[in-house]
Symmetry: C2
Subunit: 524 residues, 2 copies
């Protein structure tokens, strides 16, 4: 009998009754679980723990899931790479805008740098106004504030913020008076011909960790004191009371706010201790070894974590022009984009491995392997000038035959691997209906074609003729009419024709790698 | 000698060298204050504490500010009115859309209800698509998510979220897998003719406070356990680890997240204790006395605090249509709007009081009081068909003479009350340059008119002729040419002419109240 906590175990039941197979959302409320829930019986077999519950429900948990560990959401110091300036002597994390746009691996690397190191620089971003919004939209959503959808950082005649002057700005985080604070900031350099105006970054998590090391009591004071941050102009009156160093419930550093310009009046006791700690923290942020300094040139776009990095600017002379455009966005969507890009890359790796491994097995009595068959179908689609989504559908139409596609990955998704359209369902995690529906309907398309096209059935291979019977034989008139009405029916018929052609022993085709960029593009 | 904490006191120095008079931002960094800073001498006089610092700097603090207390940012339980359903037996907080749009007091009351009670209902919001975005923009900014700028809540064929089905939805908060979580949600009912589909709200802060009262150890567990919330679809993979009940550093309830659909797999020790506490909290949220139930009809728009209120929906039949449009926004901007609306109302009250009080005093030797003079100027502008901003400028042109306008309010703003354009500066906190610049230039306009318009000087009152000399006499040719180039010069000349006309003893005019709506509209 298992010793696992019963409500925890039951709350994680992966069956389709407990969890929506399409999106993984739970279909019950925690209060709906019976009181005194207990495991009535449990057995381990086939890499799974099977549980019979006291209320009669049955659950089946993959051992791999039971043994899983967890890395957290990556938002605390635990998930970060804390740094000093010397760590970037070899260069700043980043990529060219072009590589970022065209290569999902580059995009994932840039965004992962923002998540892990707190920043990255895109180079060669077109120096046109509002382009910074395009950068934000490449991974998430713009957060509009009282400064607008975007803001111009340049000298203004009557500034409502020191950012819009030419004076030096000490390391700080932005908008501390907002709650929720914008978690990401983007600064896109359009022009920087003035003397001075260099950029600086400090890892606020590192500075906080140094403070904790050198003066634990000061660290404690800063984590325990909500500081009123305020901003006020004619149309705005913002205030947020947040500590300079915010911890998660486990005591890990999760957020840093640092901006003396916007600190309001702290009231209450402990003010001497707070100011001593505050000044000590400020002193650490100014240590040369923590200050990363560099110059943004036209076309550079700096993306950084505003809950972690302090940013600064040296003063500049008005002997040239300095013009940045900035906007805010949020880390949650950025992290989501990294995860999705990596999931897609992993899916392509999995599919590639299936073609190379299981795909080398025989294909239901045909004279080609499964991989050869699908590559031939894709090549036929390509030769016919088919659009990308149909080349992909042809390439992947029999992926439901792959045992490996429906096991071993995403074990908790509640997939039914006995269903005839399991291949389409599996593909639907990455591809849209323009790819999945022809796959879903390609068996029906055979039954349709045999019904409506004289001579089609006679051209089937022996194996295909055999499976036709298993699958229900040719459609009757009513079935055929209904099929023709389905969205994707026409595409499925096209895929089916390439499917039939793709059984020629030894026919040369491109390998799977040839189709990878096309699949990657269709995943977006 | 003062016993006040020296760094705290100095950090709050209100002088124009320490703090930008325009926006109140601090002009120094905390590390720039000298080590061993001390008060060298201090004296109390005239309601102020005057301090000479060890580094030679001088500060002057109003006693009123020194004695101030602080209510916090209003985001924790301390700033809220916790409720049970019975509290709303007399009716739900809210207003008609029309009243909300036209009466700043109604708008402030509705938004303050969202801030304080967690929700309000606007009635009669036009039932047109995308109108919910207009509601959000009336007080803040839309937060875009993976569900789009807005989302349609109705039955969908292939939903990626249970919200888009007809099943009952238990009380929950939205988007717990986002960090920052959207702090406000809006739901605008376009159609609700189905049977069922009623709305429910629960005050999550109240439920948490009940848990703390009844089971302090369970409350403790929920505040100490980061829970992984997850959401995943083809283009999204979100995760945030946050406790069900989040406290501020002082231990006050600050945020509630509650959504079993989206809870992922918790790992680690203490799982039994967590699930016992979680189920106990869930049980409290379901108590009938905490459940506020009502029905949204077409045109109703519910605005609620998604960090505090749990919302629910009963199941509905497909015997009619139910269609809501929703969007997210944030509390910080909503609170800012409340503060600005109240600040504007307070400014109008202050101005009204000045007209009634100090304004009844004699006006520099004229035969009218200051209030009569300014009301006559406004009436003259109105009679001339002047646009609203010039009626306002005429009404307020001499506000710089009011002692009360420059004392007693916003003591920490570093105002210089000796400067001739102090009136314009004071007005600039609420009014745009179209109002303030004619006020700023109305003295110069007299000097200009005396220079360029034959016979103008002869028509001046005796008092005005006297002050002309004090103010520098008529402009020379160069000064007049420069003046004519200033933005607002033309408007200032117009105001000046009404100014000269407004010195007729006993002339009847409307009272200040007549101009209040005009001023309120100009403040937006």
């Amino acid at each position: 009998m298992t010793e696992l906590p019963p409500y925890w175990l039951r709350d994680n039941c992966p069956c389709a009754e407990c969890r929506d197979p399409r999106n993984g959302q739970k279909l019950f409320q925690i209060h709906e679980l019976p009181p005194d829930l207990a495991v009535a019986a449990s057995t381990e077999a086939d890499g799974h723990l099977e549980v019979l519950w006291s209320d009669g429900h049955r659950s089946r948990y993959p051992r791999e899931w039971l043994d899983g560990t967890d890395e957290g959401d990556g938002r605390t110091e635990r998930g970060k790479r804390l740094w000093t300036a010397a760590d970037f002597a070899p260069g700043l994390p980043g990529a060219s805008w072009e590589a970022y746009l065209t290569d999902p691996a580059e995009q994932a690397a840039v965004l992962a740098a923002v998540r892990d190191s707190g920043f990255a620089v895109l180079r060669g971003v077109p120096t046109v106004e509002r382009q910074v919004l395009r950068v934000a939209e490449s991974f998430g959503y713009v957060r509009v504030t009282n400064y607008g959808e975007l803001f111009d950082v340049r000298v203004e005649p009557s500034p409502n913020n020191l950012a819009f002057t030419s004076v030096a700005i000490a390391p700080h985080t932005d908008n501390p008076y907002r709650d929720p604070v914008p978690t990401l900031q983007l600064l896109h350099c359009l022009e920087n011909s003035a003397t001075g105006g260099d950029s600086g970054l400090v890892d606020g998590f590192k500075a906080a960790a140094v403070l904790r090391e050198e003066a634990p009591e000061a660290f404690e004071v800063l984590t325990r004191t909500p500081v009123p941050f305020v901003f006020r102009d004619r149309r705005t009156e913002l205030r947020a009371d947040r500590p300079l160093i915010d911890l998660d419930p486990k005591g890990r550093i999760r957020e840093v706010r640092f901006n003396n310009r916007s600190t309001g009046t702290l009231r209450g006791s402990g003010l001497d201790a707070f100011y001593a700690a505050y000044r000590r923290f400020a002193e650490i942020t100014l240590r040369p070894e923590l200050q990363l300094t560099f110059r943004l040139g036209p076309g550079d776009c700096l993306v950084f974590d505003n809950t972690r990095l302090l940013h600064a600017r040296t003063a500049f002379q008005q002997d040239g022009h300095r013009h940045l455009q900035g906007c805010y966005a949020d880390l949650d969507s950025l992290s989501s984009t990294v995860a999705v890009l990596r999931r897609r890359a992993a899916a392509l790796d999995t599919i590639a491995a299936l073609f190379a491994g299981e795909g080398a097995a025989e294909y239901l009595g045909e004279e080609v392997t499964m991989a050869e068959h699908m590559l031939q179908a894709a090549a036929a689609a390509e030769a016919a000038g088919a659009p990308d989504h149909l080349v992909a559908a042809a390439l992947l139409h029999d992926v439901g035959h792959f045992h490996g596609a429906l096991h071993g990955t995403d074990l908790m998704q509640g997939q039914d691997n006995r269903h005839s359209d399991s291949g389409a369902d599996w593909l639907a995690r990455w591809f849209g209906p323009e790819v999945t529906e022809p796959v879903r309907l390609h068996v029906a398309a055979k039954r349709y074609l045999c019904a409506v096209e004289p001579g089609y059935r006679e051209r089937l291979s022996a194996a295909s003729e055999y499976t036709l019977t298993v699958q229900g034989g040719p459609m009757d008139e009513q079935q055929a009419a209904a099929f023709a009405e389905l969205p994707g029916a026409r595409d499925a018929v096209a895929v089916r024709r390439w499917d039939e052609q793709a059984k020629e022993a030894g026919a040369p085709t491109p390998g799977f790698a040839h189709y990878r960029p096309l699949l990657a593009a269709l995943m977006r």
